[in-house]
């Protein structure tokens, strides 16, 4: 009559089983990482060696926009696809009709007025700095995106001022700039994004400018688009 009494665990058996599996995976991963062969210098020496040929004086910028520029190009592609996908999911062509959040008070307005112009200057400085020190298109675009979001949450129109076509143009600008430069290098008989000597700096700056705009507009779009607006059910 007694039967076997089921032991009640504080967690479900599914959670427990998943826990055991993921914990084993974690241990295997940690074990693998500890057995990695030590690679003295890694790619540092290689990057330093070719740095004079690169169009940027800072190794990270050189890797991002010269040695492995196709990584950065496709990354911009991911950002553009995500922004266009988010717009499509929210059934929008632009974010012009998205309602800004309710006013948060005079402090936010005042701070926004003070900070946004400084952020624009900082973004330009970071872009220029990227050629020889930590900085570059990403940091610059992120600061600009933060300014765009700040403008939006304090009731400004932010990137809502861009019509659908202009928003799309700003979004794909960085991707297209990379594409054109890539085609240009191929037209001169070199590999894709293998800049001819002497032109690397100028091409990188041109691409970085377009990429900065794309990153700033893309990130701001991704933030703004998920909010409700007029015309939403």
């Amino acid at each position: 009559l007694t039967g076997r009494r089921r032991v009640r665990l504080p967690v479900s058996s599914r959670t427990l089983a998943t826990g055991i599996l993921t914990a084993s995976l974690g241990l295997v991963l940690a074990g693998t990482m500890l057995r990695l062969p030590r690679d003295p210098g890694g790619l540092t020496q290689l990057a330093e060696e070719y740095l004079p040929d690169a169009g940027a004086g800072h190794p990270v910028t050189a890797v991002l926009l010269d040695f492995r520029a196709y990584d950065t190009w496709l990354e911009v592609g991911v950002l553009v696809l995500a922004a266009l996908g988010a717009l499509a999911l929210r059934r929008r062509e632009s974010v012009a009709d998205v309602d800004p959040p309710p006013a948060a008070g005079p402090v936010l307005d005042g701070v926004t007025r003070l900070v946004v112009p400084v952020m624009v200057v900082v973004a330009g400085y970071l872009l220029w700095l990227g050629t020889h020190a930590p900085g570059g298109a990403f940091q610059s675009g992120a600061v600009l995106a933060a300014a765009g979001i700040l403008l939006f949450i304090s009731g400004g129109r932010s990137i809502g001022v861009l019509s659908g076509r202009r928003l799309a143009a700003a979004l794909v600008g960085g991707f297209v700039a990379f594409l054109l430069v890539g085609l240009l290098t191929m037209a001169t008989g070199r590999a894709l994004l293998d800049y001819p000597p002497g032109t690397a700096s100028a091409l990188i700056v041109a691409v970085e400018l377009a990429v900065t705009v794309t990153i700033a507009v893309g990130l701001t779009t991704l933030f703004v688009v998920t909010r409700r607006g007029r015309g939403d059910a």
Partner: protein
């Protein structure tokens, strides 16, 4: 105990914890957060590798990969949130329907 040992083991554990959360947590927002933590654990590992191979300066290639990865992670997160928002608008759910809920 080297810094690389601490950071790499920590990143492996963080990855496992986040994967567990991704599977077990039903709410989509928590799944997105778990995915983010998984991404962060990979970034932590890449930064640790860059530092471990440091000759005097950290290896720039893993650093550039982390920078690239951050933008991709942010984009994927935002797209996932847009999907979750659309699902919430259409169905009022904050999670995917369970299989047994679909057949009453």
């Amino acid at each position: 105990v080297t810094p690389f040992l601490i950071y790499s083991v920590l990143s492996a554990l963080l990855f496992a914890v986040a994967l567990h959360g991704l599977i077990v947590q039903p709410q989509l927002l928590r799944k997105v957060l778990a995915l983010n933590i998984m991404g962060s654990s990979v970034f932590l590992f890449l930064v640790a590798v860059a530092y471990r191979n440091a000759d005097p300066a950290p290896d720039p290639v893993p650093h550039a990969m982390v920078l690239t990865g951050i933008v991709v992670a942010v984009s994927a997160t935002a797209l996932a949130l847009a999907v979750a928002r659309r699902l919430a608008d259409e169905t009022g759910l904050d999670r995917l329907p369970e299989r047994d809920e679909e057949q009453p």
